[in-house]
């Protein structure tokens, strides 16, 4: 067999990255979402899907011209949100104004993966995991968002422990 040190080394790196990364929920982030497209959206909740394998929050976001777009944002499943301090129909409700940070879908359009939700009273909750599967890119808040706003750099403290 021909000795291919570079190929073996590269294969090793790929495996070290790909094979050792623990599974996050039930799918790869990187197929659908682009970690290089951080977004920050402020709007009004129009619908909440408290469902497996993922919860979704839909929000109406108004741009500077007054045009309203309904965004669909994916997050953790209910059991994980519950353990992180969320309560269904209590933490957020239809009609609430919130800010969501996350990453937009690879194909563009008004849907994405959300990392964090900030309520109007300033409380912050994690809604989904950070990007996984070796996609790289910037954390939300590290770069200006498409709307030109720059969300806070410092990540919020985790919610109080509740099991």
């Amino acid at each position: 067999m021909k000795f291919r040190p570079l190929a073996i080394c590269l294969a090793g790196i790929v495996l070290a990255l790909g094979a050792s990364a623990p599974a996050r929920a039930h799918h790869s982030f990187g197929v659908e979402y682009d970690a290089n497209k951080p977004i920050s959206l402020t709007g009004t909740i129009t619908s909440i899907e408290w469902t497996n394998p993922h919860c979704f929050i839909y929000i109406d976001v108004k741009d500077k011209d007054g045009k309203v777009t309904n965004w669909k944002m994916e997050g953790f499943p209910p059991s994980v949100l519950y353990r992180s301090g969320w309560r269904r129909d209590v933490t957020v409700k239809v009609g609430d104004e919130i800010t969501m940070t996350g990453w937009q879908s690879r194909v563009g359009g008004p849907w994405g993966h959300s990392r964090e939700v900030t309520l109007k009273d300033g409380r912050k909750f994690y809604f989904g995991p950070p990007p996984g599967t070796g996609d790289g890119g910037n954390a939300p808040g590290a770069n200006p968002t498409p709307s030109g706003q720059t969300p806070p750099d410092a990540p919020p403290a985790p919610p109080a422990p509740r099991n």
Binding site: A11, G12, V14, L15, A16, L17, G18, A19, S20, A21, P22, A23, R24, A25, H26, H27, S28, F29, G30, V31, E32, E49, T51, N52, P53, H54, F56, E74, P77, P78, S79, V80, Y82, R83, S84, R106, V107, Y126, P129, P130, P131, G132, T133, G134, D135, G136, P158, P159, A160, P161, R162, N163
Partner: protein, 290 residues
């Protein structure tokens, strides 16, 4: 020459530092290797404090989670399980930062690499199929519950509603139909529960993206509760169809007192499967460039 002396000095100092680091590493590795055995010796503090069943075995009954050894809130324990380049991932294998890569045969390695290039779009879990053994055991984010009796150890996993029944001192049935979780039988070697698993189908991944296997998969797992909060986990994975030899890994499983297992009905609103099918119409949108 002064610069030469300085350079030599730096080289010597560098060499000394390297050797010292090597010695430290070797010492630490030796300590890790003997840690589990030492913890099992009678009279050891940590081992003495762990709960034991009436027959004297370490009692693993309780709620646990893999994928993290960080005691804290659910968020703190699980936040960085996802891999971010430049950071060391929070591996499920907490006692070693780096695990050996699976020893794939060339043809199988190409399949793994292709799956990686496609960012795991062929992930079985996207279709709500169970991750199986050994993948589920060390999966982060979701808890597992162990119910231990003298004749049977039961493992319940929140994610995908998986369960494992591990009869003690039993033999595998000789009429096994291939399955996602395989067939498990266990026995005790001192304080270690050794579980032999066979009878798998070939529809799961072993660990991360694209880690395929065949129906010849054979897994031997060792569970050792070494202290109140920790089960040391070791698995040896054999598969003559895809591997060149056995693949052994080490990890830990962390106690999550107070955590209740909840429902995870994956097919309820599996939007991702629909979107994956949409994405597959043009792979260039998500395929890795390198």
């Amino acid at each position: 020459m002064q610069i030469g002396k300085l350079t030599n000095g730096i080289v010597i100092a560098g060499l000394a530092t390297f050797l010292a680091a090597l010695l430290l590493f070797a010492t630490a590795a030796a300590a890790q290797a003997t840690g589990a055995a030492a913890a099992q010796q009678k009279g050891d503090d940590a081992s003495a404090k762990i709960p034991r069943t009436a027959d004297g075995k370490p009692d693993m009954t309780g709620v646990w989670q893999g994928g993290s050894n960080r005691i804290g809130t659910w968020e703190e324990a699980n936040v960085d399980g996802g891999f971010v380049p430049g950071n060391v991932p929070m591996t499920p294998f907490a006692i070693k930062d780096k695990q050996p890569p699976p020893p794939y045969q060339d043809w199988a390695q190409k399949k793994v690499d292709e799956s990686y290039a496609r960012r795991g779009v062929d992930e079985p879990m996207v279709r709500c199929l169970p991750p199986g053994v050994p993948r589920t055991t060390l999966m982060g984010l979701f808890p597992m519950q162990i119910v231990q009796t003298p004749k049977m150890v039961v493992m319940l996993f929140e994610v995908f509603h998986e369960f494992r029944l591990i009869p003690i001192d039993a033999k595998h049935p000789d009429d096994l139909d291939p399955s996602y979780m395989g067939d498990s039988v266990g026995h005790w070697e001192g304080d270690t529960l050794v579980v032999d698993v066979t009878g798998f189908n070939d529809k799961t991944w072993l660990s991360g993206v694209g880690t395929i296997h065949s129906e010849k998969l054979h897994v031997v797992e060792k569970f050792t509760r070494v202290d109140m909060n920790t089960i040391l986990y070791e698995d040896t994975v054999e598969d003559p169809v895809v591997f060149t030899g056995p693949w052994t890994r080490h990890g830990t499983i962390m106690l999550r007192p107070g955590t209740r297992l909840q429902e995870y009905e994956c097919v309820e609103n599996n939007d991702d499967l629909l979107r994956y099918n949409e994405m597959l119409k043009d792979e260039s949108v998500f395929r890795r460039k390198q």
